[in-house]
């Protein structure tokens, strides 16, 4: 049912400095549905939230893949699947050629070390009763074989310095640190076991802008120094543009578009990406009224009951009959350099203005 084009999940044809880098994470057709049940004694399955549905991509060494999309589109579920905090219903994940989903016991433990996660909320993700030193050293007690030769305490101090915190504060508790500093503590813990991949789930969303910039710069520096690969999840498109090399746009559990940062932000081809980008306010009042906003009508559909065909069709100004009957696959499309899951994909919207017909839905009522 898909077009006879390539179905490769690698990046599109745009400029991609990481094209030849080693693939560290290869994700194929990942699916996670959460059953919805009804009834108190006899739970009947009445449907399922399609939190992640047929998601494929590759992450290369040293690269940052940004994942953007609105609340509930499945970003955190994807992160949890990649951490094996949730088990997928279908699909494959391999880490540097090894099957991550099949791994068990010692093998799994060894692979897990290499993929770490940083969470959104620096206020709740740290145990308030543990000192910062103990928090950062915790991974070593889970993985004693990784105990650093120079001693745990010295390594923790080294990590504190690496993330820009004062090593002398090793005995302090989380409440004695600000939000940005707590996020640094989370990053230091994530780095303890020398991972290859760090999954960042909204790592700066809870921070003030001035502090957010500090943490983003830190992530940048660490990537340069340590050759890390990041999956950077955020709903803030400006933040993702800044940090990502490639970007995947999610809508209701599926990837709508996947390409280099340039492709996605300069020549978005999927109507949803175009609408998202047009809605982001730009900090420049002289552009007021110049940037055409595509204001989407209505609310996102119920994730347990997505529309047939293309999930975006109920809000899409370009929808035609085929959009109702055929689910568009994430493939390369004529005239589009990135991968796009839209039957009518076209890079026909620019920052300056949307096409006229885009405003058919221009009624927020």
């Amino acid at each position: 049912m898909s077009l006879p084009e390539t179905t490769s999940a690698a990046a599109g044809r745009g400029e991609d400095p990481f094209a030849d880098a080693e693939v560290v994470l290869d994700v194929q057709n990942l699916v996670k549905h959460f059953p919805l049940t009804q009834g108190i004694v006899f739970q009947r399955r009445v449907g399922a939230v399609q939190a992640v549905d047929d998601v494929s991509f590759q992450l290369r060494r040293g690269e940052t893949l940004g994942i953007v999309g609105e609340s509930g589109c499945g970003k955190s579920t994807l992160a949890k699947l990649l951490m094996r905090l949730e088990d997928p219903d279908a699909g494959a994940v391999s880490f540097r050629g090894e099957d991550f989903l099949a791994a068990k016991g010692e093998h799994l433990r060894r692979l897990r070390r290499k993929i770490q996660i940083i969470f959104q909320d620096p206020y709740t993700s740290l145990n308030p009763r543990m000192s910062v030193g103990d928090i950062i050293a915790e991974p070593f007690s889970l993985h004693p074989e990784e105990k650093p030769a120079q001693g745990v305490r010295n390594r923790v101090k080294e990590l504190l310095a690496l993330v820009g915190l004062n090593p002398d504060h090793i005995n302090r508790y989380p409440h004695q640190f600000s939000g940005g500093q707590r996020q640094r503590i989370g990053i230091a813990r994530g780095l303890a076991l020398n991972p290859d991949v760090i999954i960042c789930d909204e790592p700066v969303s809870a921070l003030d802008v001035s502090v957010q910039a500090q943490v983003m710069n830190l992530l940048d520096d660490l990537q340069q120094q340590l050759g890390l690969s990041y999956i950077f999840i955020a709903h803030d498109l400006s933040v993702v543009r800044h940090i990502a090399d490639r970007v995947g746009v999610m809508y209701l559990g599926r990837l709508a578009e996947l390409g280099t940062e340039e492709e996605i932000y300069r020549e978005p081809s999927h109507p949803y990406t175009q609408a998202l980008l047009s809605a982001v306010p730009v900090p420049d009042p002289t552009l007021r009224g110049q940037r055409e906003q595509i204001v989407l009508a209505g609310d996102p559909p119920n994730p347990a009951d997505p529309p047939s065909g293309c999930r975006f069709r109920t809000r899409c100004w370009k929808a035609t009959d085929i959009c109702t009957t055929q689910e568009p696959q994430l493939v390369s499309r004529p005239g589009v350099s990135q991968l796009s899951a839209c039957h009518h994909a076209a890079p026909d919207w620019e920052v300056e203005g949307a096409p006229d017909d885009a405003r058919r839905n221009d009624d927020s009522a």
Binding site: S210, A213, M216, H242, L277, A279, V282, P283
Partner: protein, 340 residues
């Protein structure tokens, strides 16, 4: 934008001081705040977390937590009359009728066990003495006005049955029900997705124009400000650091804090340059530095900055800044080199 500065302002806040007495000491949450709002005008109050934005809004609305809060000084004039000197009864009547407010989190500000139509209708029953049937009718009208589809049918639904964006619309319906002339919106779209945020901001602007309201928009988002505000006050540690029309802030910010903020935000239409983060953190309100509150983080701080507090003063027509060297920063920009 009918903001002739000669017309009588709707709202004038003069030297507002709000303190919280806590165990750690007295926190000066708002410390000498001045802002003016005219009919039809949108004033953005921008600042980072804890800078005193919500406390300012609560003081204007008269819903400050007292104690521990305490208004230590200043005036809040509504059409020339000081709200702080007004009898409680009269102030209560103004609230909702003339000055109303929208909060960030619609779900926790709406009553979860009452139908939304009833909650909107209550505005008419309580303030206008309207009968139940008519109040319901008015509620449905308001729901239609803020763009809730099938309003007649949905008036009986409860808040949790609506999406975040729809709930925020319901809050807006309640806030404008009585045709107020000052509307304070405290981070009205922060909890919403960008496409929904765009819808809600557009609705707020439309309603403002229609009713010629004065709108105070509280936000930390420099993008939203650029989109909708006529003028802006930038707060830091309870004080206004800089205020001007919206264009001047973005083209010629004078205060090092404002300039730092602008340099630290990534832009959706921008390049990948390294962000110029502002080092350090805002001061604790219980332990403010003696001079300029920004001095511990300011790259240009001098001994004078560390001892003498800069007052907010006019540095160009309609442009004020609280920095000893504000003029130098603007001139330096014109000369294309850094200030000494």
């Amino acid at each position: 934008m009918t903001n002739s500065s000669t017309a009588e302002p709707l709202l004038e806040v003069r030297d507002l001081q709000v303190e919280f007495r806590t165990k750690a000491g007295t926190a000066q949450a708002v410390n000498g705040l001045n802002v003016t709002l005219h009919a039809g005008e949108t004033l953005a109050i921008l600042g980072e977390s804890g800078s005193g934005k919500s406390v300012t809004a609560q003081a204007i609305m008269g819903i400050l937590d007292m104690p521990p809060g305490h208004i230590a000084g200043g005036e809040i004039r509504y059409r020339g009359e000081d709200l702080l000197q007004m009898p409680d009864e009269r102030r209560r009547r103004l609230r909702g009728m003339n000055i109303s407010m929208i909060f960030q989190d619609a779900l926790s500000s709406l009553n979860p066990v009452l139908p939304v139509g009833w909650q909107i209708g209550e505005m008419f029953r309580v303030h206008r003495g309207v009968k139940r049937r008519e109040a319901r009718q008015k509620a449905v009208e308001m729901m239609e006005r803020v763009g809730i589809p099938a309003a007649e049918k949905r008036a009986g639904d409860f808040p949790h049955q609506f999406s975040g964006g729809m709930r925020q619309r319901i809050m807006i319906a309640m806030a404008i029900a009585l045709d107020p002339d000052v509307l304070i919106a405290d981070e009205p779209t922060t909890a919403l997705d960008v496409t929904v945020q765009a819808q809600v901001m557009r609705l707020l602007k439309q309603l403002q124009e229609e009713f010629n309201m004065g709108l105070i928009l509280i936000t930390h988002d420099l993008g939203v400000v650029a989109d909708v505000a006529d003028k802006i006050a930038v707060m830091y540690a309870g004080r206004v650091m800089e205020a001007s029309d919206v264009y001047s802030i973005y083209s010629s910010a004078a205060h090092p804090y404002t300039r730092g903020l602008l340099a630290s935000i990534p832009r959706v239409d921008g390049a990948d340059e390294r962000l110029d983060a502002i080092p350090g953190l805002p001061p604790a309100l219980t332990d403010m530095p003696p001079g300029c509150p920004f001095s511990p983080r300011c790259a240009f701080a001098t001994d004078r900055c560390r001892t003498e507090r800069p007052e907010l003063r006019e540095i160009a027509a309609g442009h004020t800044a609280a920095c000893h060297y504000a003029e130098d920063f603007i001139t330096a920009e014109e000369d294309q080199h850094e200030p000494a």
